[in-house]
């Protein structure tokens, strides 16, 4: 009985520390969750006369993948994204972040283009609107145009199935 209090304090600390250790300190919770997806209105890659308009995508759940030709993991997740978009019929759009359109075009030619269209965010200004701080990042946006989920970093088939697909299914 004498040791009940110290033991309780120890247990509480152990639980908090274990929770803290299992979290990634670099993952910043997104401030954008449940907020309306900011306007993009940027020229479309490989079709600069056109612009990507977020409002026109209302009424459907879609994915916005932030990518760049200088981002190695982006290349890795292309097949995953392509397959996911195809299999579950999810419109996949890209935000080409701080990239040269020429490099981006070459990258798409090399890896295959999984996107319906990619907006060319050469100076990263729209990226800041979305709270982007690393690449890749992927946003799930619902039919009302709200950001419902943000995934930080590479999407593997496993991550897609376990973390992203359930959110999309719930929104559909």
């Amino acid at each position: 009985m004498r040791y009940a209090l110290p033991l309780a304090v120890f247990m509480a600390m152990a639980v908090f520390l274990a929770m803290g250790l299992s979290r990634d300190p670099r993952a910043v919770p997104s401030a954008m969750i449940d907020k309306p997806a900011p306007a993009i209105n940027l020229p479309v890659l490989q079709s600069p006369g056109e612009r990507l308009d977020v409002q026109a995508l209302r009424g459907q759940v879609w994915l916005l993948n932030v990518w760049a030709s200088w981002c190695a993991p982006c290349q890795e997740e292309v097949p995953v994204l392509r397959e996911a978009a195809r299999q579950y019929a999810i419109p996949l759009y890209g935000l080409n972040y701080k990239d040269q359109p020429d490099d981006a075009a070459a990258w798409l030619a090399r890896n295959g283009n999984p996107y319906v269209a990619s907006a060319s965010d050469t100076d990263g200004r729209v990226g800041i609107e979305y709270g982007v701080y690393g690449v890749p990042e992927t946003f799930v946006i619902d039919g009302a145009g709200r950001i419902r989920h943000k995934h930080l970093g590479l999407i593997t088939p496993d991550i897609f199935r376990s973390r992203i697909l359930p959110i999309i299914e719930a929104l559909k």
């Binding site: 910043v28 890659l45 612009r51 190695a72 993991p73 359109p101």
Partner: protein
């Protein structure tokens, strides 16, 4: 100055700042990953996750995917207007510095915007500049970044329910420490209470004859 994958978020590329004094030529390893058109001073800003800074907008062609559903998200465009930042007055410059010191660089996370050389920090400093030139207040600018990056972006987190523990925790611990101290002192005081006559007699007995 080396390109490296940190064991952070799986596959997330990131930019780490370089020492400004570090000459760009030491970055040959990084250069291999960089587009050749980057001037050397930009190269010196580049870290593990290579990237380029603001560049003149070039556009290329060919859309390979037809839109497969009804609503087209793509609309006709007008050319973007290039914006040059006006110089700030010394007072505004001071405000800009203060804001940059109070905001966290999201890439390096342990540096302020003012200290960081990450491209994102550079962009955010430029945004501070542009918004000051626009006549926005410090609070408005702070709010702008908070809306996009959350409380995390502030080095001075706001006092609200979710941060109560953060702000009050140290005082609570201090109070707990005092409580434990007082309790311990009280116990010792009780333990040192004067001896009763009986105890005194026994002690005297011990002293005379041994236990």
């Amino acid at each position: 100055m080396r390109r490296r994958h940190k064991p952070g978020i799986a596959g997330l590329t990131e930019l780490r700042p370089t020492l400004p004094s570090e000459p760009a030529r030491t970055s040959t390893a990084v250069l291999a990953f960089l587009p050749p058109f980057l001037p050397p001073f930009l190269v010196s800003f580049v870290m593990p996750l290579v990237m380029s800074l603001v560049m003149p907008v070039l556009m290329s062609l060919v859309m390979s995917f037809a839109l497969s559903f009804g609503a087209s998200a793509v609309q006709a465009a007008s050319p973007p207007a290039p914006a040059a930042l006006p110089a700030l007055s010394p007072a505004d410059q001071q405000r800009a510095d203060k804001l940059a010191h109070g905001l966290r660089c999201l890439v390096c996370q342990n540096q302020s915007l003012a200290d960081s050389n990450a491209p994102l920090a550079h962009d955010m400093r430029k945004l501070i500049h542009a918004q000051l030139a626009d006549g926005r207040s410090d609070a408005q600018i702070m709010r702008f970044f908070e809306d996009r990056y959350g409380d995390f972006v502030r080095y001075d987190p706001p006092f609200k329910p979710i941060t109560w523990l953060l702000w009050l925790g140290p005082f609570a611990l201090l109070a707990l420490g005092f409580w434990v101290l007082l309790r311990t002192l009280k116990r010792r005081a009780v333990a040192r209470a004067p001896l009763t006559a009986d105890e005194r007699a026994r002690a005297a007995n011990f002293l005379d004859t041994g236990p």
